[in-house]
């Protein structure tokens, strides 16, 4: 026994606490809340009764608390979901969940939940609504969509989503309708991170699956998988086990003390956007020390190693120290440690490195490190595992096909010169597109879907540039006849969100706005119709994503309960709209029961539908792990009739498809790139620069991974700082602020600042400051304008582990809709509450917490619900790829109180 603690001591302490006897279990404690009021009676009754697990039933489904989509189970008792837990059968999560999963219960039984179709009364955005029937709403909307289609202008339907996990159902609708304008938020999010991966590894691998369970060394450039990272929940346990049990070493470069930085073996505060410089200096060290995996490089990489050695000759650790602040000796030591641990070594990066003017190049430099040490596809290294639905794609060899039932609609045709749509484009756009290489002309669909200034936003696939949608509509680049917002929070969460609201309110720009959502969001508040969606606890979806266990799997989302009120799944809404539009659309939506549609979707999976529903997940347990997919031989049956190109080694099937590459006399799969090689050198960046007029010396035009500064960070004055934003582990984007337990934990978003920064500016901890945000300097929307973008005012909190040149604010908060929990406002109610829920449904949703116990409300002496800052953040797409440079913002800071 150590330090005098014995089991007897522990028993005595337990006895003193009074809650447990030595003899065993006690009777369960029951929460005693206030007596139920007339509204919320059912909700309060549920809140005051313990879950009876002998009566409750567990149903597996897929979480929708963020974009990771973990397998979960929901416990259902008396027709109500009571609890969400991990599904141990999910091979990716290994049965784990995060704090957000139970938010699904909050958002399903929430007083501001929209339970009936609503039609606006009075001016758009005035907050006045009348309840209408589904037939009335769908008849009107369907008639207006039909008119657009019959007029031969289907492209005037814009379907803009924020989160769509129907895995192709909404595109079935837009394809059948004939519009290419199914817009998204990829550029708001991760375009800059995906482009480098697709450049290196091909369209199939826009995301990697590091073998974290077996790794010995991780270099993390600004990623935060412990809190907020797509797939983070698949990584957390593997990483912590590797570090605690396996002795793995993790180095994190960050700007603030995130949870990931805090649990890392080492944390270095770094200047924003310096990640690529650090990575290139590490490449320099690895080559200098002779620690590269030459055999791997020469076998697979499309550029000679000597060319890269010459390229990084000037990228010394001393040079990188000057840019990043990381001492040169540490850069050397870490590079050597990484290379010596290889192949069980991997990089990790996400928003921190990518959301900058130089973010695409930062990530190319980071990804090159894994290539240099040969950890690609190796145990403990940087692995690739399929992340798309199973349709016989690269890496999916031998998997059953999981695809929507026939008949699927065809795709809209591209906008070629001479077509009506093309001739309506502004002249400079026509000129630019007409000069594009043919492979881009063949997939150009107008300025909203395929913005011509950002060809790399649609080169690999349609990532688009969501933050330019509202400016482009305002500028008249695309006439809009009808606009559907689907789980979209642009009015709150987009950069320069005020512009989104201005455009949405303008009926001459947006004649019809339909919002499909579950909560009265800032976006729904600006609609003409609000159609209530089923929540993720009430709907079907097919799902597959990349597994960090390196073996593909599929998961089924299924309803745990019937939709509350008159909510309907989006699939049913779109089917019913398609039937009203008619003209052949209805043929693609020929189903009555949604379950039948999904049963057919999963027809080829080799277990029964009942078993899939019971377990929630399917995986072939005998399938080999996805190590070194590039080294897999092409099977003999695929080689029948195939030809080999003598110059390139490419193997083409009898049907003409490229299926592999000849390497040392063997027919291997190679990488999923056009060359079947790993493309460290990619001329597409130069091609895109030439096609758009971006100067060829711009960092974004470089064909090898290169570092250059963010233009507005050069010679940054002493009284200017970089504002970054960040996500919390209890929140997701702009849609979680009304989830009561999560917002109880994080409801405010102060400005985090280093104490030295405060001292320099004469600011004390707790003071209120106004931040003024300035426009970026080069080659982006409104670059170089002198006038600031905007300001916001918030309280300061000092954190010693901030980088002194950075201030950081979380962007989840500061809502003016989504109800009392999100607004921390017990007095004012939006039009949504509780008038949307009537009678029995009001009883089901309006529990006492939301009505009475928001303790952080200012009226209760609390700090309130945070400050909205997105109106002040500039629209800032990175050249060519278009990813939003969220973390470049230059600010000045002034004390106001």
């Amino acid at each position: 026994m150590s330090d005098g603690i014995s089991r007897r001591d522990l028993l005595q302490l337990a006895g003193a606490a009074g809650s447990l006897s030595a003899a065993g279990a006690l009777a369960p404690l029951v929460s005693c809340g206030p007596k139920p009021a007339t509204t919320g009676a059912l909700a309060d009754a549920v809140m005051s009764s313990a879950i009876d697990y002998r009566k409750a039933k567990a149903v597996p489904t897929v979480c929708f608390g963020c974009t990771t989509h973990c397998g979960v189970i929901g416990w259902v008792q008396d027709g109500r979901v009571r609890k969400i837990e991990g599904n141990p059968l999910d091979p990716n999560t290994q049965g784990t969940i995060c704090a957000k999963a139970n938010g699904m219960i909050s958002y399903t039984y929430y007083p501001e939940r929209i339970l009936y179709p609503l039609k606006r009364v009075g001016p758009r955005g005035s907050g006045q609504w009348q309840r209408v029937s589904w037939d009335e709403a769908l008849d009107d909307i369907g008639a207006r969509l039909r008119a657009l289609r019959e007029a031969g202008t289907p492209e005037q339907l814009v379907f803009h989503y924020g989160r769509d996990k129907t895995k192709g159902f909404t595109s079935r609708f837009t394809d059948a309708f004939g519009t290419p304008n199914r817009l998204n938020r990829r550029a708001i999010c991760s375009s800059n991170r995906r482009a480098p991966l697709m450049s290196f590894y091909g369209r199939e691998f826009e995301w990697e699956s590091q073998d974290l369970a077996n790794t010995r060394y991780i270099i993390n450039f600004g990623g935060n998988p412990m809190e907020a990272y797509q797939g983070g929940q698949f990584m957390v346990k593997r990483m912590m086990d590797a570090m605690v049990d396996g002795g793995a070493h993790m180095v994190t470069f960050e700007v603030r003390p995130s949870a990931t930085a805090s649990v890392s073996s080492e944390y270095f505060p770094v200047h924003p956007a310096s990640d690529g410089a650090i990575a290139l200096a590490m490449a320099h060290v690895i080559l200098e020390e002779g620690l590269e995996d030459r055999a791997f490089w020469e076998r697979w990489v499309n550029v000679p190693l000597e060319e890269v050695r010459a390229h990084v000759a000037g990228y010394t650790p001393e040079w990188a120290e000057g840019i990043s602040g990381v001492p040169a000796a540490d850069i050397r030591r870490i590079a050597v440690g990484f290379a010596e641990a290889a192949p069980a070594a991997t990089t990790l990066s996400n928003r921190g490195s990518a959301k900058h003017y130089n973010g695409v190049q930062n990530d190319r430099a980071i990804r090159m490190l894994d290539v240099l040490v040969g950890s690609v596809g190796r145990e403990g290294g940087f692995c690739l595992s399929s992340l798309r639905m199973w349709k016989n794609r690269y890496g999916q060899w031998g998997l059953p096909v999981i695809d929507q039932p026939a008949p699927k609609p065809g795709k809209p045709r591209p906008w070629r010169p001479g077509t009506r749509e093309f001739e309506a484009l502004p002249p400079e756009v026509q000129e630019r597109v007409a000069a594009f290489p043919e492979f881009w002309q063949a997939k150009y669909f107008g300025e909203l879907a395929t913005p011509s200034l950002y060809p790399l936003s649609w080169h690999w696939y349609n990532m688009r540039v969501g933050q330019l949608v509202y400016p482009y509509i305002k500028e008249g680049r695309q006439k809009v006849g009808a606009y559907i917002s689907y789980t979209l929070g642009a009015s709150f969460g987009y950069p320069e969100a005020a512009l989104a609201r201005e455009v949405l309110k303008d009926e001459s720009l947006i004649p019809l706005h339909v919002a499909i959502d579950i909560s009265y969001s800032e976006q729904a508040a600006l609609a003409d119709y609000i159609l209530p969606d089923a929540t993720s606890l009430e709907r079907w979806d097919a799902h597959s994503t990349n597994s960090y266990g390196l073996r593909p799997y599929t998961a089924l989302r299924q309803p745990l309960v019937a939709p509350l009120g008159e909510a309907r799944p989006v699939q049913i809404m779109l089917r019913d709209l398609a039937r009203r539009v008619g003209g052949g659309m209805e043929a693609h939506f020929d189903f009555e029961e949604l379950e039948d549609y999904y049963r057919e979707w999963y027809a080829e999976v080799p277990i029964t539908w009942e078993e899939l529903k019971a377990r929630g997940v399917w995986q072939d347990p005998d399938r080999p792990l996805d190590y070194e997919l590039h080294e897999r031989p092409v099977p003999a049956e695929e080689l029948e009739g195939a030809t080999v190109d003598e110059d390139t080694g490419l193997i083409r099937s009898a049907a003409g498809a490229t299926i592999g590459i000849q390497v040392d006399g063997e027919a291997l799969r190679g990488f999923a790139t056009p060359t079947r090689k790993l493309q460290v050198r990619d001329p597409i960046f130069r091609t895109a620069a030439e096609a758009t007029g971006l100067p060829l010396d711009d960092i974004n035009a470089q064909v090898l991974p290169t570092w250059g500064p963010v233009p507005e960070h050069v010679d940054l004055p002493a009284d200017r700082f970089v504002l970054t934003t960040f996500k919390w582990n209890v929140h997701t984007q702009g849609r979680s602020a009304y989830w009561k337990y999560q917002t109880e934990i994080v409801h405010d978003n102060p400005v985090y600042m280093h104490p030295d920064t405060g001292a320099m500016l004469g600011i004390a901890d707790g003071d209120t400051v106004t931040l003024t945000v300035y426009r970026p300097k080069q080659h982006t929307y409104r670059a170089g304008e002198e006038a600031p973008v905007g300001t916001f005012t918030q309280r300061v909190r000092f954190l010693d582990a901030m980088h002194p040149k950075v201030v950081s604010v979380s962007h989840h908060l500061g809502h003016w809709e989504h109800g009392p929990v999100a607004r921390a406002d017990m007095e004012r109610t939006s039009p949504g509450s509780p008038g949307f829920a009537e009678g029995a449904d009001a009883d089901a949703v309006a529990d006492a917490d939301a009505r009475e116990r928001v303790w952080w409300a200012k009226s209760r002496g609390g700090v309130g619900g945070g400050v909205h800052l997105n109106d002040a953040l500039p629209i800032n797409p990175t050249p060519l790829v278009g990813g939003q440079s969220w973390f470049d913002n230059v600010v000045s800071i002034e004390k106001v109180g």
Partner: protein, 167 residues
């Protein structure tokens, strides 16, 4: 078909102890939210709460789950049907282990042999929780413990205080 969530025999350790391996805790709050939902704990009341406190030496965050002595019963309702307490089941890194001190060579022994200890200063928190990896300064900054306190410096559960440093 047997499934992992099928109910089973009650979990009734002879000498119940919650072991917390702070080396594995990432401050994710999954335990806190799971307990809230499991037991319908009203806003403003807490049975388990994870403290986020900045390390004096370097400002990185250290996490400390605390269990309320008055209201936490280590998930008795769930244990009666063979389920782990909600917090333990929710923890994604197995930082929480509901163990039996009477079990020879079990999690309690392993924690004690690695220097694990209970809190010297408990406030309103359960004193029978065995922490592995506790940093001494954490008890100095606990204040009340589980209940919110105006002197709390956590950056979660914000109550609007700064520390008045500087300027």
């Amino acid at each position: 078909m047997s499934l992992p969530w099928d109910l089973s025999d009650p979990i009734e350790p002879v000498e119940p102890v919650m072991v917390v391996d702070l080396r594995r805790c990432t401050g994710c709050h999954a335990c806190a939210v799971a307990c809230k939902v499991e037991h319908a704990v009203p806003l403003g009341e807490f049975r388990v709460r994870v403290r986020w406190m900045a390390r004096p030496e370097d400002g990185t965050m250290a996490f400390l789950p605390l269990f309320d002595a008055a209201t936490c019963d280590y998930g008795a309702n769930r244990r009666s049907v063979g389920m782990q307490p909600a917090c333990v089941a929710a923890c994604p890194t197995a930082a929480l282990i509901f163990a039996d001190a009477a079990e020879q060579g079990g999690a309690v022994d392993a924690a004690i042999d690695s220097g694990g200890r209970t809190l010297d200063r408990t406030g309103d928190a359960r004193g029978d929780v065995l922490y592995r990896g506790l940093e001494g300064w954490q008890e100095d900054k606990m204040n009340a413990g589980v209940a919110l306190h105006p002197d709390d410096e956590d950056i979660t559960y914000e109550q609007g205080q700064g520390q008045g440093r500087g300027a």
